[in-house]
């Protein structure tokens, strides 16, 4: 296995910020993705390609065909005519380059851990929910609950997204090229959300931790969400992250506003009962 690149999120200084809770967060670095090991996954070769025409296939048939191709060592799969079907591209716990040449419906690419997905269209509600690692890049718009409860990876929408983006986000990075709807970052617990356009009302409502960057106007902040101070680290991080996806903040990253949690939950720093037993 190739040696892991050492410029991790720690080296970038991202953990020097004052996170208020305990964290097991390890920020996903796309440069390291080729080196990640997925236990019990298929050995695939990204130089081996295959196409699926999904026009007359059910979501289950599409997902099974993707799995069968991975089992056969195919590491680069293109799916034509997904026709906005729901639940497509889900549960992929593998390295894989996966391209959808058109839009997906609800829960597209949910529960994934590792693949690099490109969707040349739009996605419906709950795209990439519970994603663990990998990248999902959407060329068009996205529906509500975009990236719900994601733990890691990069989830990128080049267009605008609906309401409750990153609800219950536990890690990873969500990037929105346009506008995001109401209640984005609701109960956010870790990770980063970057919105280049405007944000709807109640941004970051009830967030415990994590960071939200907004390039446009914020209609209204939610309870517990307060403005934070942009640092050189933030600017460097945003510049690198957006540059990786050929995206730009309309007014420059320096003009973006940072938002963080305004207070700590009373027991957020407490140890779990099992952990207390260990030290008592």
């Amino acid at each position: 296995m190739a040696k892991l690149k050492q410029e991790t999120s720690h080296e970038m200084g991202l953990h020097q910020e004052q996170l208020k809770g305990r964290t097991q967060q390890k920020f996903f670095s796309i440069d390291e993705s080729a080196n990640l090991t997925y236990f019990h996954s298929f050995e695939v070769d990204t130089n081996k390609s295959a196409k699926i025409d999904a026009l007359d296939m059910t979501p289950r048939e599409i997902n099974r065909e993707i799995r069968a191709l991975m089992e056969g060592g195919i590491g680069d799969i293109t799916v034509d005519n997904p026709m906005s079907r729901h639940g497509v591209g889900v549960g992929i716990l593998n390295r894989l380059n996966l391209t959808f040449t058109d839009s997906l419906g609800y829960f597209g690419c949910g529960l994934i851990d590792g693949p690099n997905v490109h969707i040349k269209g739009r996605v419906g509600w709950s795209c990439a929910e519970n994603m663990m690692a990998g990248t999902v890049v959407i060329d068009g718009n996205a529906g509500s609950t975009f990236g719900a409860a994601i733990r890691g990876g990069d989830l990128v929408c080049k267009g605008s997204v609906g309401a409750r983006t990153g609800i219950d986000q536990k890690g990873g990075t969500i990037i929105v090229g346009g506008k995001t709807g109401a209640f984005s970052g609701f109960m956010m617990q870790r990770g980063r959300m970057i919105v280049l356009g405007d944000a709807g009302m109640n941004l970051g409502d009830s967030m415990y931790d994590g960071t939200i960057y907004v390039g446009g106007e914020v209609e209204e902040l939610g309870v517990d969400c307060v403005p934070g101070e942009m640092t050189e680290l933030d600017i460097r991080y945003l510049t690198e992250k957006l540059g990786h996806y050929d995206m730009k903040a309309p007014r420059g990253v320096e003009k973006m506003q940072k938002y963080v949690s305004g207070k700590t939950l009373w027991n957020y720093d407490n140890l779990e009962p099992a952990e207390k037993k260990l030290i008592l």
Binding site: S84, D102, G105, R122, N141, G143, S160, G162
Partner: protein
Amino acid sequence: MCGIAGIIHKNAGKDVNIGEQMTAMLQALKHRGPDSTGYAMYGEDNGNHVVRFKVAEAADLEGSFDIHAAIEDRIATVNSRMEDLGAKIVKKESATEYSHRYEIQFSGDMKKLADFVEDIEGVEILSIGNSLELIKDLGDAAVVSEQYGLNDFNGTHGIGHTRMATESDVDIRSAHPYWAYPFSDVSVVHNGQLTNYWTNRRALELKGHRFSSNCDSELIAVYIADRMNQGSDLETAMRDSVEYLDGVFTYLVATRDQLGMAKDVMAAKPMVVYEGDDMIALASEEVAIRTLFDHHIETFDPYHGEVKVWQN
């Protein structure tokens, strides 16, 4: 859960087969509600009023020996009451024993006519309009379309609904769309739950409005009717409704020449919109809109509290 869909053609005249288009979209939304399916479609206005009414529920036909005679009596009474008020029935059609379509010529008080006809036991007017045809029955879109011959219906726009019964019974009375009684050519479909239904229903009933069901969605139709009765235009009434209605909802309203959508302030119910130069299509899920296209389309989700109205 329920699914809603709508389509409006802006420059195509009245020769677009919107019946086939609506059926395709509603059938794609069957998984959101298989209990009943309804259409409100707007076609040619030949100068007559189109009255859609039912004289029984589909379930009434089962287990009652007297229902067939009762239906005949009810239809005869409808005919006589219409004629008593000066309505001339120029065409009669019926897709089922209980569901009827009349074309009438009438210049009197439409509310009085509707009230007089609905006073007959078991009779409910589904819609009155010059171009509105409101059809709803149990089953999915393929079943209802086949039953009522909707797949060759030409017109400019329409809205539709697939229902998963949560707040009231599985029957035609509780199926959508709802006609905004007593306004001709105004219809509503809704996906969501209204939490201030009873409070607002009582207030509207005190003002003289009638409710034909216990379905919370009917409140929207009655509210819109009330506001239009006070002189509001459709868009203003819809904008006010976002504050007036409490709960989670997305709904569509159609009039003779407009199609509107409204979304609650929590943006809790889905809606996907395609806005083309000649056509606007919208539905609870994009998978429904994609039945109309064989190529990629650009779509978007409206935001919280958003109201949009399109003109044909």
